[in-house]
Symmetry: C2
Subunit: 234 residues, 2 copies
Amino acid sequence: MTEVNVRRSAKWELRRQAIIDTSAHVFAQRGFHGTSTAELCEANQVGKGALYYYIGSKEQLLVAIHDRVMDEVMVGADRVANSEGTPPEQLAQLGTELLDVIHRYPDHVWVFLHEFPALTGENAETFRRRRRDYEIRVEDIFEAGQRSGDFRDIDPPMAAKAWLGMHNYTYLWLRPGGRVGVPDLAAQYADIFVRGISAAPSTGAVAMPSPGTASAPPVPPARTGAKKRRQGAA
Amino acid sequence: MTEVNVRRSAKWELRRQAIIDTSAHVFAQRGFHGTSTAELCEANQVGKGALYYYIGSKEQLLVAIHDRVMDEVMVGADRVANSEGTPPEQLAQLGTELLDVIHRYPDHVWVFLHEFPALTGENAETFRRRRRDYEIRVEDIFEAGQRSGDFRDIDPPMAAKAWLGMHNYTYLWLRPGGRVGVPDLAAQYADIFVRGISAAPSTGAVAMPSPGTASAPPVPPARTGAKKRRQGAA
DNA sequence: TCAGCCTTGTACCGATCGGTCAACAATTGA
DNA sequence: TCAATTGTTGACCGATCGGTACAAGGCTGA
């Protein structure tokens, strides 16, 4: 939190970025709290002094990784928002952009999706807001699609969460050099989702069964004597 | 790892389960590595002696939380597999079962989806396998749907991952007492997905654009001097 | 009543945590 | 060439980590 505005040389920025990227890999493997600063030193081949000279603190390092992901993702969203496509086209395009980031920065995205609760105070709030901003971009497309008549009457927030889950989940398995490529995968996902919410008539709808315990009232697991304690999580 | 087979009283088992549930809540808030045994003691209102008397070790506690989730989820999958429904019906039913578990055990599921890399050795392997077993159940339904002619020619592993992502992602926001209920949500998700992969003709397909940097070759972030180091992660 | 087991709190262990610091090496610019 | 700046090391800090040892309290059946 100290000395935020000191300007550094381009060389310093470059070295810092390299350390951030290497550290993202370590965090992705071992978790944020599960990684010690000593391990970061070893991975980056530097002493503690040099490490802290570049990162400031462990949490600022985590923030930098989050920034990398969120910046890239938001640039893609802007590109889509400024495009001329129809809502179905924009949705497909946004999917490609998102999967592309996940594909190019698998470690950063892993950390982004797993360790955001480790952010504290203002940092937690900042990224909670930026995540929400992105979610709104997705919702906007669904709303536009309903106005244009392309999409049927689904609930945009619900559809946005479904869409996000489908795409974000690829962070678990989508890797450079893997079996499937981004353009192909994005096309298939878009195909499924756009058909799924298309206003065009389809015979695909299914009557819902009422399986198992599914409609039983939720039974929150018993807690003995819990006290309140907060992190940054939502 | 010591003394796995000692049999304890029913009272002991009950108390143990209560501690597991309370601890799941703490882990969900603060993360596995981010939670100290002292915090677990405070949350459970016990001393360290009593805590370790019931849990054995911090990792065994994590295993117990994983077991709770995986057991419940697999019971649901069995119920669906033994049902008489068509593939589209089975897919909808499986979704309801899965969302139901997420809804009833939000803390456990959060831990399950976030902290599995903290498992080590044999424990990591066990749950890697159990996760894969579940994934196969999903793939089986897609394959059955293609044989029956209900589903079009999608790639079952790809579809399974898309379906899992869409449903699992609800762990971030689906809560008891929330705005949407499980049966309703599951119905909407099933509606989207089944339409999306239905063999029934639809005009919903979209020509894919080639947006932004999307087809640029992946640029793995530069690493300086990284050494190998393993956790349990996939 | 009391032996014996179940359950518990607490002092304590060595190891490791994130982070600081003074000293020094390397580089830079004039 | 040399002072100033930039970059780096590794010892060191108090705090805290997961886990253990052990004595003592509580409960149970005879």
